[in-house]
Symmetry: C2
Subunit: 300 residues, 2 copies
Amino acid sequence: MLALTILGNNSALPAFGRNPTSQVLQTNSELYLIDCGEGTQLQMSKFKIKRSKIRHIFISHLHGDHYFGLIGLLTSMGLTNRREDIHLHGPGRLKEIIQLQLEVADTHLPYTIYYHPLGDEGIIADTNSITVQSFKVHHRIECWGFIFREKKNKRSIDPGKVKAYEIPALFYEQLQKGMDYINKKGTIIPNEEVTIEGPAAKSYAYCADTIYHDDLAEKIKGVDMLYHETTYLHDLAERAASRFHSTTKQAGEIAKKGQVKKLLIGHFSSKYELLHEFLSETSMIFANTELALEGTCYKI
Amino acid sequence: MLALTILGNNSALPAFGRNPTSQVLQTNSELYLIDCGEGTQLQMSKFKIKRSKIRHIFISHLHGDHYFGLIGLLTSMGLTNRREDIHLHGPGRLKEIIQLQLEVADTHLPYTIYYHPLGDEGIIADTNSITVQSFKVHHRIECWGFIFREKKNKRSIDPGKVKAYEIPALFYEQLQKGMDYINKKGTIIPNEEVTIEGPAAKSYAYCADTIYHDDLAEKIKGVDMLYHETTYLHDLAERAASRFHSTTKQAGEIAKKGQVKKLLIGHFSSKYELLHEFLSETSMIFANTELALEGTCYKI
């Protein structure tokens, strides 16, 4: 199970009650924070996101609307006496910024931050439940996207069958991993006979700030849900390009070419109070589109 | 006229809807920002504070709850194409922090930041309407207080009298400055005859995070309004001291010994949901006390 909660869906300037970019991806057991604009810790309180469950934080790039809330969050984690490590994945100079601010405050966090600078594209995290892969997007400064892929889910036990074959409960974990059972008489009970396929492993791709570029479709190919920025409506395609951002129709194109199952759009410019045109324009290109709305949880 | 609006009144951790420290002092013509915790720019929007009117920003110290919102505010001022200079008064290393974050983002602000590192105690700003004086307070790291003093207000014209003495309107400005008028016959009309004393010049002292220390009473002697932190109720005096903070009664003592006219208290610890005991405890020592409440404007 993957589920994504939007904490901030606006671009650079906070406006109309919308906050700068931040998202939380939830697996069965963990929370993964993606970008962390100013006020993210307040949004987390508002939407009851437990910061103690976060072990990995991913920062796409060093424009402030994607990370100015990070130092406050890390400091608050310290003040509430967190002990668990934090793994921080982001552009290399993020470490310098965080360490400088901790140093001048004479702050000694009660937990360890492991800095993982982004370099080559590839797997950057591999946890019990997911793998995370980085890929380059095309912005004014170094900027990254991330693909989160659930690991293969365990097979489910068929309660009637295991009873009928008198399989002891101690062996259930091995059954879930796909092993056959051999009973006292030496008879092989095939795994498929007593288990059923687990839920399909899901995938989520996060495309941070980027100009439209065909290669992204290849990189995010076939994911279950794609988040792609749509800073501007399509009539401002020229402005979008000059600022290394994308429009509604361009996000739709990437989703279509990438054959993803669902598209989520966000990073709306502060010039727009209403968002309905973002949805209608994008849906014309890719039907299964939704607006990324703050506080909303999208099941993947 | 001086008036103070509270944007954040909480200590380190945001809690119960309370934000980290920030205040705006308003004179007749300008706004002065004092400290700038995370989310200050959002609080400014909420309470209709015009950031374009700010020319001077004062940062007491480099604990995050007093400045993590600054980089976001400065960036937003740039995005809205501000042209007027900003004068930034704070501990010396603030410049390094701001410049580093602008540099990694490849951000070139359309306005100039003048950094004024705090060093010796004394006058650090002198504008048309006020002077600002810095003084050291006693915290875990270098920390400053600020006294804002209105300049002597102009005398007011007595409309009946200037008419009676046939004084031309062109001379009014000089009258307001205190000059006598000599009429065509060479008769001296004394200034006091045709003008009345302007409103008294007011003063405001901001005592940022500090342990209780007698010398502060001397430093803020006689101001019209004193803001003093009260992180804890008095039963936690020991904890307050160990963390270089003050209690209710200690703030009251400084106000009493300093013979100020009014005391405003804030920087409440996140452990307190309700604040009424802060008021009752402090008022026992110094009667004219008010709680610093977010969004409230205190006329001085």
